[in-house]
Amino acid sequence: MKEKAVLLGKTRTLVGIITDPASGTQTPAHATVLLLNAGLLHRIGPSRMYVRLARELAAAGFPVLRLDFSGIGDSEARRDNVAFEEAALEEVRDAMDLMAKAKGSQRFLLMGLCSGADNAFQAARVEPRVAGIALIVGFAYRTPGFWLRFYQERMLDLGKWKQLLVTKFGAGGKAESEVQAGEALDDSEASYVRGFPPIDQTRSDLEAMASRGISVLFAYSAGQYQYYNHAEQFDDAFRGADFRGRITSRFFPSSNHTFTRHAHRDELIDAIRNWAVTTTTAGSNRAREVGAVP
């Protein structure tokens, strides 16, 4: 495993770190991995999670690029007034071009947490070089099963009852605001606030991705308790959708939003590495079956 710093993008003002597999461990089946910023955190990820993930993936044979989007981490802000989502897609493409030129990469796995997941999803919708996306605390949709568990839990929570009493009878108590689908990764003034697309649009996007051969892993955590709270919720939300066996979900019932505890982070990294190996090996086999170039 070897790491190298690069400047990329049209103005060469985006900072990235390439983690290369040890010589001889990379195979044609291995796609190249791009790790996308989690909110405003720079390319090391929450609690340095991306550094470990990149090294684990490189040990499994994947070249990895961790990059800072413009205006985040060490990368300069853009001066062309392009919207963040549009700029992120352009910069993902810049990163792909760099890795294509430097490593001959033609297939990519995009991964990210929170806003990184959202940007990976948007890139996969339109970019033909994407072979798979791993979305850590990505989009989620509440179901009747979600609400049942949500209110059951609150009924048994003594703190919530106390809060209710204060709200109803206490002087100056504030009414609890409605649970929002959006959230912030941190509490700074520059927080990234999320909004999820309508479920019908996401279903349609996922079916289109599956039909193009893109694999998707949704990794949910208990830290998303406002909109995800049990392992079967994803399957319930998308019941009847035709995902061709390419879209999977995994729930981490003990973790917080950013996988702060080491044990939870280890578990997540294992799951993503195993998914990456399985999905690229299966993708490569499928390509051979139909006579396409892997």
Binding site: I17, R48, D74, E189, N256, T260
Partner: protein, 264 residues
């Protein structure tokens, strides 16, 4: 801006070198020693801004990650005070090499200030050290990290008894803080400083603290030239509510200008 790896191939360190963007009356090379753990993450963008300002003022600036932190080689549990002070020495040599300067100045932020003073106290090629909200007592800092960790994990994992949190692999706020790291840090205290000859020491802080007065008294005893400024606004380092809050450059602009004015 030039991001690169330096040091030995077994223990590579990541740094970003900012060459001078203007001609200064006196050529300066400034090494920035970053904080540790979650404070490193919080300060990252502000430290970048400091390096840019120094570079605009005509200085060579280098910021870097200690071994086992940030983008540098090594895992999070492999570092420690001895390793990190050695890394500062490696970074000083690198900065002298890339800039051509024979002497350098150091900015140390939070725990980076403690490490910087310990690393350079006997070096003759360092002429000034500026401490930004310095950690002066390693034991007090370790206790603060414990308390912040307890409060943070308690709020993130309300159902897990505190005693059960991270019993197998000790961590603070998701970063490693091993028993060995703790032992080393608890023995470090700038009030026990023995030698700091040939260097000027400046402190710039966002809040007044009795420890700052104690350090200034110690510097007087050692006959070390020093100065001090308090510029309110900044880190809120001990507030749990700010534990994940990025320090935005505009929030510390006065403090950053003060540092640049003192060094460039």
């Amino acid at each position: 801006m030039n991001p690169f790896f330096f040091g030995s191939s077994k223990k590579p360190l990541f740094g970003i070198y900012h060459p001078p963007q203007s001609r200064a009356a006196k050529e300066r090379a400034v090494l920035i020693c970053q904080p540790l753990g979650h404070e490193y993450v919080r300060a990252h963008r502000a430290v970048r801004q400091l390096a840019l300002l120094l570079s605009k003022a005509g200085a060579h600036a280098l910021r870097f990650d200690y071994y086992g932190t940030g983008d540098s080689g090594g895992e999070g549990d492999e570092g420690g005070l001895a390793q990190w002070t050695q890394d500062i020495g490696t970074a000083i040599d690198e900065l002298k090499d890339v800039s051509g300067a024979s002497r350098v100045s150091i900015v140390g932020v939070r725990a980076g200030a403690l490490l910087a003073v310990l690393a350079v106290s006997r070096r003759r090629d360092v002429d000034a050290v500026l401490l930004w909200d310095p950690v002066i007592d390693g034991a007090g800092y370790a206790a603060l990290m414990d308390e912040m960790n307890r409060q943070w994990l308690g709020s993130e994992y309300p159902r897990v008894p505190n005693g059960d949190l991270e019993t197998s692999r000790v961590g603070a706020l998701g970063f490693h803080f091993t028993p060995a790291m703790r032992r080393e840090l608890e023995q470090a205290n700038l009030l026990s400083l023995e030698d700091f000859s040939g260097k000027r020491l400046s402190m710039i802080v966002s809040t007044e603290d009795p420890e700052h007065r104690a350090l200034r008294a110690r510097l007087d005893e050692l006959r070390v030239a020093h100065d001090y400024a308090c510029v309110p606004g900044g880190g809120d380092w001990a507030r749990r509510e700010r534990i994940t809050a990025t320090i935005l450059p505009h929030q510390v602009s006065g403090l950053l200008q003060g540092i640049v004015g003192a060094l460039a």
